[in-house]
């Protein structure tokens, strides 16, 4: 007795396999990837960040330099994983017209300072207590990093812990898009 044809059986089997692979990806898949963000390709929203050393830093003052904007929190384990890469890359790029900015979000100041003491972050770091910068950039988790080119345009967004190679790739891209802007940003 033939209840189901071979074609039907194969289609059911394929559908089950597809569902299982999707389920497997959802559970075990490496979720570190380039997330689509509507602000990539747009002009970076200006902000003034109050740094931990008490100084203030305005993004628009950095025009003419590539910016690596990293959102982090002291309780975030992947942030700790990427901290050595960020420090090493900052040392490599600080004389190459690139600025690293760390924005601490959803955190308290004492924990953030303790984190910086323990895991590094010698570059400019400050707090975003009201989450205004985070929401302006569409941050939906930490760590998230935005690469801004010399003209002030967001060229990439990276979700997940960075490595030196990833930073080289994206920062190289941000530095190479010159848009005819000189060193002074004019």
């Amino acid at each position: 007795m033939k209840i189901l044809s071979i074609v039907t059986k194969l289609s059911v089997l394929l559908a089950i396999l597809l569902l299982l692979s999707l389920l497997g990806y959802a559970i075990f898949g490496n979720r570190v990837f380039l997330k689509f963000s509507p602000i990539v390709g747009q002009q970076a929203g200006d902000f003034t960040l109050e740094l931990f050393n008490g100084e203030k830093m305005k993004l628009s003052d950095l025009r003419g330099k590539a910016v690596l904007l990293n959102f982090w929190a002291s309780w975030c384990i992947p942030c700790r994983d990427e901290a050595p890469a960020l420090d090493a890359s900052w040392k490599k790029y600080r004389d190459k017209q690139a600025v690293f900015i760390g924005v601490n979000v959803w955190d308290d100041k004492d924990s953030a300072l303790l984190y910086l003491k323990k895991f590094g972050g010698a570059y400019e770091n400050g707090m975003d207590p009201k989450g205004e910068i985070a929401v302006e950039y569409g941050v939906g988790g930490v760590p998230e990093t935005y690469f801004i080119d010399t003209s002030g345009k967001i060229v990439d967004k990276y979700t997940g812990p960075l490595t030196e190679e990833i930073i080289d790739y994206f920062l190289g891209k941000a530095l190479s898009t010159n848009h005819g802007i000189t060193k002074d940003g004019n």
Binding site: S37, G131, E132, V135, Y137, G140
Partner: protein, 173 residues
């Protein structure tokens, strides 16, 4: 000294009127301010229900207690106080987080499929079941059932079942 009684009466009348109307005005002003505040909080709630919390699982900005959701609610309130409309505020969040931040997909482009497919599945699924039931009740279906019963494997099974029934009856008696 001539006392102008008319004047005194007038002054007294003004005093009384002032005494009655001032608290009324104050109460009215307070109620108006309160209703404006209520209105803004109400609008914040309504807009927050339309947006999904980006760091939560299936919770809207209104429902979530996460720090990001709290900050988003504060930003919505600030924007409303600055005179921005509901549409402008929603567009602000969509421009930063994408359409995934919306609680319900907008009814445009391929998104229509999301709204139509469940209804279509229900209609076609229902029609499929109805056709199947109708066919199984028809003469053709009955004939097919008879054919199936006449198959050697089914007959062997029914003989085995009959024997099993007999033995069970014997065992019970």
């Amino acid at each position: 000294m001539v006392i102008d009684l008319k004047m005194i009466r007038k002054i007294n009348m003004f005093r009384k009127a002032f005494a009655f109307t001032t608290p009324a005005f104050i109460i009215l002003a307070l109620l108006t301010l309160n209703s404006i505040a209520d209105n803004i909080d109400d609008q914040v709630r309504k807009i927050s229900y339309l947006l999904m919390c980006p760091v939560c699982q299936g919770q809207t900005v209104a429902e979530s207690n996460s720090e990001l959701a709290t900050q988003m609610r504060a930003i919505i309130k600030q924007k409303l106080e600055e005179g921005e409309s509901k549409e402008e505020i929603i567009a602000y969040f969509v421009n930063r987080y994408g359409e995934t931040i919306l609680g319900a997909p907008p009814t445009k482009g391929a998104n229509w499929l999301i709204w139509i497919l469940p209804a279509l599945a229900l209609v076609f699924g229902g029609a499929g079941i109805a056709i199947f039931l109708h066919k199984s009740k028809s003469e053709k279906g009955k004939e097919k059932a008879k054919e199936m019963l006449n198959e050697p494997r089914v007959q062997a099974e029914s003989k085995y079942l009959e024997k099993l029934d007999e033995e069970l009856k014997e065992f019970e008696s």
